[in-house]
């Protein structure tokens, strides 16, 4: 992690682009790229507040004449976006909690406890990072069908947790390795049991890793489509990604309402990112380098 920290630190350096013309040119280029990256999203925000007559009269790109917030209320109630949203929140939150509990315990046991098969267990779990979810889709579908778990929250939570574990064990494990032995030893000598030592002494020491894993799990669950579209076809349990697809089918020509639905899906992620952007960027780098 320390290398990642260094990478994202601002270091005052003497080097900078030479010449004022070069600087202006460079800034113009960077701003242009920023517009390309961000304008489609602004365009989405704008048309989510318009009605069809405005969109289809050729002024799809300008500011809305009147902000049509009713698109949002319609999407929420008639378009079931509120249901999808709550489902996504529930599935994502449950997955994050379970991934954190399971992989912190396992990562701890593998890196800090003494048993013969710890190395092998780590290797097996890390293999999971290379596996594309495509490979498990059909067998999982059949397993979940036989367990009568299709069309339930569990049909998403279980696979999300299982596929989230490898990366999480790896990141948490590498943090546990860095904790000095004395921390645990003194806790045990003072009469703490292993569970108490783990939950109240060790876990608080790895909060950066916990937030990295939480961010990662959030992004992958919130945005996941393939499992969600395969394992659930009941509107009551659909998450936002699948819900968006059915909503687009229902409101095929009503861009404003579709736009509102897409905005509701996107805003939580963007808000979290803007609040925690350093942490999110660090997590993504850590995940890539360690993965």
């Amino acid at each position: 992690m320390s290398t990642v920290e260094v990478m994202l630190q601002k270091k005052p350096k003497p080097r900078s682009i030479s010449g004022p013309i070069g600087k202006v040119f460079l800034q113009a280029f960077l701003i242009l790229v920023a517009i390309v990256q961000i304008y489609p999203l602004i365009w989405l925000a704008l048309f989510s507040l318009k009605d069809n007559s405005e969109i289809f009269s050729g002024d799809v790109a300008g500011l809305p004449k009147a902000f049509l917030w009713s698109n949002y209320t319609k999407a929420m109630s008639d378009g079931h976006v509120l249901t999808y949203f709550m489902n996504s929140v529930l599935v994502t939150a449950a997955s994050i909690v379970l991934v954190l509990i399971l992989s912190s315990m396992t990562g701890y046991a593998i890196t800090r406890m003494n048993w013969k098969l710890s190395g092998l267990t780590m290797t097996i779990i890390l293999l999971g990072m290379m596996v594309p979810i495509h490979a498990a889709l059909l067998p999982l579908f059949i397993i979940l069908k036989n367990l009568s778990l299709l069309n339930s929250y569990w049909s998403l939570i279980i696979p999300y947790v299982a596929f989230g574990i490898p990366m999480a064990v790896f990141i948490l494990g590498s943090f546990f390795k860095g904790i000095p032995r004395e921390m645990e030893e003194s806790a045990v000598i003072d009469g703490c049991g292993i569970y108490r030592t783990f939950f109240s002494i060790i876990l608080p020491l790895v909060t950066p890793a916990i937030s990295t894993v939480a961010i990662f799990t959030f992004l992958s669950c919130w945005n996941e489509l393939m499992f969600a579209v395969t394992f659930i076809n009941n509107t009551a349990y659909q998450t936002l990604t699948v819900g968006m697809m059915s909503m687009v089918g229902t409101y095929i020509t009503q861009w404003g309402i579709i736009g509102a639905g897409l905005m509701i899906t996107t805003v939580p992620t963007v808000v979290i990112y803007l609040l925690l952007n350093k942490q999110v960027q660090k997590s993504m780098i850590a995940g890539a380098i360690k993965g």
């Binding site: 593998i110 490979a135 498990a136 996107t266």
Partner: protein
């Protein structure tokens, strides 16, 4: 002391739930998939064992071959268009320009957004009548270029690459930026002392020193292209006339639309093998150099 940290019961409590879940949901299904790929099976009954027939059929099936070709083109576009753009942005941002934090934050936003939203948004951008792209073209007097981008055979494939390239430019930029930032300042200072130009420094010093992260980017973009599903599934569904079909959408359609479980599993095994082989290939490529 030791007994506390090597207590079998405690270790079991810490490890077994994870291991059982992981093996049951991730590991075993892969082997099961490989077994299914040897069956002629429509999901009813137990299926007939047909050995490697599915694989033989796969490599004669023009629809499969076409989808593989598309995913290779996709990988090519990522490597030769997306990664160079990311690299240039990363090198600029790492060279101490004004507002680097702001640009880094902004460029990265699309990475976090659900591919479903990205795909829906781009289908609106490409809309023949009211889409942003055609409106833009008309407003700068290029109405003749305005067209139904996703509906025509000759533009659909390129049009469906662009959203992914657009979405993940920021991701690779961030990785490469981190790589560039970790290049020691002393080395760069020394190069400057020796009179190396900015471009020369980037090309002969920065890029070679960024190799480890470039490898990561390369692996991710190639494998990402082989695995792409969400975007195509939502944007075009593989159409028109299979022109944008990729192996994962074809696998999905084979299993859940035409119920050929065995054949679909063979395609999924092909995707895993393709990803593994490419990862190993790229890794060994970077080792020998």
């Amino acid at each position: 002391m030791n007994s506390v940290f090597s207590n079998k019961g405690t270790i079991a409590v810490f490890v077994l739930p994870t291991l059982i879940l992981f093996c049951g949901i991730v590991l075993i299904p892969i082997f099961v998939s490989s077994y299914y790929s040897l069956l002629d099976w429509n999901g009813v009954g137990r299926g007939t064992f047909i050995g490697l027939d599915n694989y033989v059929e796969m490599f004669k099936d023009t629809r499969v071959l076409n989808s593989i070709k598309n995913s290779l083109l996709f990988a090519g576009a990522s490597v030769f268009i997306q990664l160079p753009i990311s690299l240039v942005l990363a090198l600029i941002l790492a060279s101490n320009v004004k507002g680097e934090g702001f640009y880094r934050t902004v460029y990265f936003i699309p990475v976090l957004i659900s591919t479903v939203v990205i795909a829906q948004l781009w289908s609106k951008i490409y809309n023949a009548d009211y889409g942003l792209l055609n409106v833009l073209l008309q407003s700068i007097g290029l109405s003749s270029l305005a067209q139904d981008w996703l509906g025509q055979k000759d533009t659909a494939l390129a049009a469906s690459f662009i959203p992914t390239l657009w979405q993940y430019v920021g991701y690779h930029m961030l990785l490469m930026y981190a790589g560039a930032k970790s290049v020691s300042q002393d080395v760069l200072e020394a190069a400057r002392m020796d009179g190396a130009s900015r471009l020369r420094t980037a090309w002969s010093i920065m890029i070679p020193l960024m190799k480890p992260i470039l490898k990561v980017s390369l692996v991710f973009s190639v494998i990402g292209a082989f695995k792409v599903f969400d975007l195509i599934y939502v944007l075009t569904g593989g159409g028109p006339f299979y022109t944008t079909e990729v192996p994962s959408t074809l696998m999905y359609a084979t299993i859940f639309d035409t119920f050929r479980y065995g054949y679909g599993s063979a395609i999924s095994v092909f995707i895993i093998v393709e990803c593994l082989v490419c990862t190993i290939l790229i890794n060994s490529l970077f080792k020998t150099e």
